[in-house]
Amino acid sequence: MAPVSAMLPRWRLYSWSTNLMSLGTTLYLEGAEFQYQEAEKKILKGIDLEIRAGEWIALLGPNGSGKSTLLKLFNALLLPSQGCCFIDGINTKETNVSEIIRSKVSIIFQNPEDQIVASVVEEDTAFGPENLGLPSPEIKKRVKEALTEVGLWEMRKQPVSSLSGGQKQRLALAGVLAIKPGALLLDEAMSMLDPSSRKSFLDLIKREHGYGRTIVQVTHRLEEIVDSDRTFIITDGELSWHGNTETFLSMSDDSIKNMGFAKPPVAVLKEELVKNGTVAMSTKSNIADIREKLCL
């Protein structure tokens, strides 16, 4: 990496790296542990996991189990106190890699208020690309693309304070899309939204996943993870369960409840219908498939 970065201007490095590889980013943890220096308690204990490029991962766990900390390891906001974290093969502990890692992995937090920096919609979207030192026409292009993507282009000159909660969260998404990351980390990004804004935000995430971006989604609502590929459950800083989301969702109502979650009613309905022999359906079917089978 070093000789290339020495030859290219700073902004070239990023477009070069995203052009060369596929859009999705791989995330890899090896025996990762985390604890704050003065604290006694380990927040994360020896976590090994690999997230492949373009995968959609649901990261579940009770409040305070260490999910947010895990996400922060992925974009080098925190460094593991033991073990390693690799992003597209780059160790986050290496010096001077934080910027390249953060241009590959972006995070969206729960409260949009906490992550919007500028007072005007388009200026906030430009914040990331500006930090990367991109040339002005490129920044403008990215801002336009990102705001169009989330449906806020018409409101680009509006003050941030005039946006609704759902719009603010979409702005936060635009702000990271303008960086063109290979992976999106969502830290309960939908928990403060009302159901309709939640749905439109989730649709945006599905679209980004469709483009090939890796998605890591922390949530409490299993309705939101139906489209994910795999599920990881963190309890007390340890990876207590992992496997295919289909496998997870096909577990019995009670065992999911024991793990501290509520099974989505649609998944229950589908299973019951398959069980009682009314319809045959693949495990990964949603309400639309059920309607189709029932001729609705």
């Binding site: 241009s103 005007v120 930090n131 030192g133 002005s136």
Partner: protein, 269 residues
């Protein structure tokens, strides 16, 4: 959703106007120059000229005059208080009335009106600046103007960034403060009765959650900024680089001529 939202000071109002499009450095120059000039204007003709200039600029920038007037509201008490002091402490022979040892002279009253007007015009002028210039533009302008000081170690970028964030969070903090006040009033907090000490004490349950929230917010914001590749001013560029064109030069010259005229009038009249 906020009671305090009525406060318009320091808020940007986007519009498509020639003043909105001016280079922020030009606007900063004009504002600073006019601050000085308004401060040395002491005759009423000069002040009237300033008032009409502000009215003209407001019209040109498509800002409702009402919104501009409203922006001075929170500072009104300060202005009135200052004027009030001048009524009694200017001195002069022709005493018009007196309250105890305080004597109000005709000169004092005139002085009070002048001072009050000056301060009011100053506030309006700065409000006009913030109405027509987005916080980021303003901080860009500030950073550029303070740029030369970087050489002697002045953190121009940091100061500008702090200003951007401060302006960004003013509406949020207002809302937050209001919610905290509501929560405590619901639990019987009383800010209106008792002596000064008691009333000041009543604000503790508001200030503590506010500070805690501000620190938490600052913490997450720092993470969010870092996550979006922020590493300070080094290597950072702007989407709209500052551009000082002929419009700016013309505006600045026109403004200098205006100021010169006002100063001359101020001397002669």
């Amino acid at each position: 959703m906020s009671l305090i939202k009525g406060v318009t000071l320091g808020q940007y109002m986007p519009a498509d106007s020639f003043i909105h499009k001016l280079d922020p450095r030009c606007k900063l120059f004009i504002t600073v120059l006019s601050m000085v000039a308004i401060f040395i204007s002491d005759n009423f003709l000069a002040l009237a000229m300033w008032a009409s200039l502000i009215l003209f600029l407001t019209k040109r920038s498509k800002i409702p005059v009402r919104a501009l007037m409203k922006s001075a509201k929170p500072i009104m008490i300060l202005i009135i208080f200052t004027s009030f002091l001048h009524v009694f402490f200017t001195g002069g022979d022709d005493i018009i009335f007196s309250i105890g040892p305080l004597k109000a002279s005709a000169a004092g009253i005139l002085m009070a009106i002048r001072i009050g007007l000056r301060l009011y015009l100053l506030v309006l002028f700065t409000a006009l600046l913030t109405f027509t210039t987005s916080p980021s533009e303003l901080s860009d302008g500030l950073e550029a103007v303070l740029g030369p000081l970087k050489r002697i170690g002045f953190p121009a970028h940091e100061v500008a960034m702090m200003m951007t964030i401060a302006l960004r969070f003013i509406p949020t903090l207002f809302e937050e403060t209001e919610r905290i006040i509501n929560a405590q009033v619901s639990r019987g907090a009383d800010f209106h009765s008792g002596g000064l000490v008691k009333r000041a004490k009543a604000y503790i349950p508001v200030l503590i959650p506010l500070f805690v929230l501000v620190f938490k917010r600052a913490d997450t914001l720092a993470f969010a900024m870092e996550a979006r590749c922020y590493r300070g001013g080094k290597g950072r560029v702007r989407m709209h680089p500052l551009n000082w064109g002929t419009t700016e030069t013309k505006t600045a010259i026109a403004f200098i001529i205006f100021v010169a005229t006002v100063i001359v009038l101020n001397r002669c009249a």
